[in-house]
Symmetry: C2
Subunit: 73 residues, 2 copies
């Protein structure tokens, strides 16, 4: 799976697990709602600093966003 799609997949998973809207997550990490939506769809080649902001806002370790599990496909 492409790395940006994998990252976006994990962002959506963790966000929904916390019952956060894209807007609420965007506010938590100081990014725009539409940017979060595009990241979740794998449409943004995000930078490390923005990836770290999102992981921190979701209180999940950054490495976990790059681990592909069997049911990720």
């Amino acid at each position: 799976m492409n790395i940006t799609i994998l990252f976006g997949h994990h962002v959506r998973l963790h966000r929904k697990k916390r019952s956060l809207s894209q807007e609420e997550l965007a506010d938590l990490c100081g990014l725009h709602r539409t940017y979060i939506g595009a990241v979740e769809r794998g449409e943004r080649n995000i930078t490390l600093l923005n990836a770290e902001k999102i992981a921190a806002a979701l209180d999940e370790p950054l490495p976990s966003f790059f681990i592909e599990s069997k049911n990720d496909n």
Copy 2:
């Protein structure tokens, strides 16, 4: 440790473990030698796709570049 510095630290570690020069690593991943140097110094807020290229060229899993061990400080 800042995420870009942590990533650069691991790139240098793995590159030296394989006795590769910055130029040889740059050639392997289709990036410029000076860019690799700046990444290793933590001076580049690298994107996921470039991070993945470097990890693949070093044949190391991308998540491992974001794990901070005690002796990383």
